[in-house]
Symmetry: C2
Subunit: 213 residues, 2 copies
């Protein structure tokens, strides 16, 4: 399989972690979002939404949208299971994942920041405030929902909610958000990064990672 | 069941349509997003994310996040099926649904518009441009992916992608987006609204609908 991925993209991070946990082999094809490679014609043919990640299966089938890719991977290679079968448990896990994937990430991604600069002349400080505002709202909602005393969001093993959270926490640290008030989320981060499969999916471990001062 | 819903919320519209298609009976509890009812303590206890919809099941179990609710409804009452079983077909349908639910809607909702006004002094024209920009990007990506000659997104019956699209098209019309270039999406809209179950979920048919000039 080929995964079109950008090192700092939290949606790519989610899928890299899932592929690693399921011990699937894949080749990373870096897509430089800062250079605008996602808007070139070649890439748009693969992914008309101009986003990452894109997963190309062995038979050439192309999958887009990180959560749809995670759903496919889980249905096809169910070990370890990332989305529970039980409808109610499934709804809870998805709701936690969606608190990151729908309420935080889409408002905080690179293309939104670009529009804030172009349309409203947003300064770097205003962008930082914008990023932190949405993370704070989402993290407060999550922190209120998470159970006590479990290393991962819903128990002893990571699921799709953990993958969304670990990727968003990378972003939070990058933007300097104070995480003091989210002890449960920090616990999830610690438990996730202790797993070599998730640690290997971290942005800094990617072939396209850049040293940024 | 009780559905906490706001008439113009496209995430509420998706879930109302699913409940109607599955012929489930439910009571609508209006949540006035413009008046800020979603941030009152009572409501936050139900839904710490301060969003709509929230579905309360007969036994009092509370579900949040529209896509997680749709997943639960489909797993529990599979007729008519809104998310296919086949992993690949499922990934395609979810990717189309997510193009609306992750790429358009979160950047276009009421709370984002509020922050654009507060933080950047956005004018009404700037808000309209903002709304239309994200809809245009998402609709172009969708239009490029949809099959020809099927009334619904993926064939003869509506699925979760149709429900996301119909609700977003309501928003598009409300904001005056020119839909000329999206004939397939307009076809989906026509097919959806011809079904009484979806027509009954339309914002204008809700108990909390207001006549706005």
């Amino acid at each position: 399989m080929k995964l079109y991925s950008y090192w700092r993209s939290s949606t790519s991070y989610r899928v890299r972690a899932a592929l690693n946990l399921k011990r699937l082999s894949y080749e990373i094809v870096p897509v430089d979002l800062v250079a605008g490679v996602q808007r070139k014609e070649d890439y748009l043919t693969l992914n008309p939404g101009a986003g990452v990640p894109t997963l190309v299966l062995e038979d050439g089938t192309t999958l887009t949208q990180s959560l749809a890719i995670l759903d496919y991977l889980d249905a096809t290679w169910p070990e370890p299971q990332l989305i529970p079968f039980d409808p109610l448990q499934r709804a809870r896990v998805l709701a936690a994942a969606h608190t990151v994937a729908l309420d935080i990430h889409p408002v905080n991604n690179l293309r939104v920041l670009g529009e804030l600069k172009t349309r409203f002349g947003a300064t770097q400080d205003q962008l930082t405030d914008w990023m932190c505002h949405w993370m704070r709202l989402g993290f407060e909602a999550l922190e209120a929902q998470l159970e006590e005393n479990t290393p991962f969001v819903f128990g002893a093993v990571p699921d799709i909610a953990d993958l969304c959270i670990i990727a968003q926490l990378y972003n939070a640290r990058r933007w300097g958000l104070d995480l003091t008030h989210y002890p449960k989320l920090r616990g999830v981060e610690e438990a996730c990064l202790a797993l070599p499969e998730i640690a290997a999916a971290h942005p800094d471990q990617q072939p396209d990672a850049k040293v940024i001062s």
